[in-house]
Symmetry: C2
Subunit: 148 residues, 2 copies
């Protein structure tokens, strides 16, 4: 969270509530020593962890397993000049426990199409740090940015 930017900070609960309303988020990690970012579908687990479903054949799981990543979602209304942004930061882990895998298969993020169960893995991102910010339509924005 940056200071001196004129935005209202959201507390953890409010941030998680908004995050739970988002359709798409973006996972931020490091790939080959460069910053990398990828939009993904997701859901929130009971403990506030972000859950992603990915293919066992994709590289994402290998890239983020055991590392600290950030996960961002936002919603911006250009016309009303209002919006919010939430960032969750924490360790990402590929779920290897069979019971946990089954639980997430039942309640994890919905697929847009069916995926053969053997090809899917789940990634959980622990909600170690959750920050959010909001700007309302009647608030004077400092400048062109939502968040800087």
């Amino acid at each position: 969270m940056y200071r001196n930017d004129g935005f209202r900070e959201l507390d953890r609960l409010e941030s998680l509530r908004l995050l739970g309303t988002a359709a798409i988020g973006r996972i931020v990690h490091t790939r080959q020593a460069l910053p990398a970012v990828l939009p993904v579908n997701f859901c929130l687990d009971d403990d506030g962890a972000v859950v992603l479903r990915t293919s066992a054949a994709s590289e994402l799981a290998r890239a983020v397993d055991g590392t600290v990543v950030a996960f961002e979602a936002d919603e911006v209304d250009r016309t009303a000049r209002s919006g919010w942004s939430v960032v969750l930061t924490g360790a990402a882990e590929v779920v290897t426990d069979p019971a946990e895998h089954r639980r997430l298969a039942r309640r994890g993020p919905r697929s847009w199409v069916a995926v053969p169960p053997r090809q899917e893995v789940f990634i959980r991102i622990l909600p170690e740090l959750v920050t959010g910010r909001e700007v309302a339509g009647d608030r004077a924005l400092h400048d062109a940015e939502l968040g800087a």
Copy 2:
């Protein structure tokens, strides 16, 4: 760009064209050794560089000046299950040349409200690597993700 994910890759020109249509993008960098991500308003310069306007009082400029960052924008239609995502990666630099500053003040990203000129700085992100991906509504998505 990850392989084995079933999405159509976009070439540089197509990616830059889509990026130019986005209202909001997200700058991805490192802050205190952690991945950080911030949604911002932006515009594209003639050479494809991303231009941000920020306050001299904000921490963003100091955090990213001289570092390699990623900049992401996307547009997803949940109902149609279609969308695109573009990531630009390159060095970020705070514009210090007075003539360049004046040029960007004329044509840079529009502010939502007026900002006193002395309080603003511009950040340019060079388009060293530009990648994009698209999924169409009639294409079978591998799973719940837009990009993994």
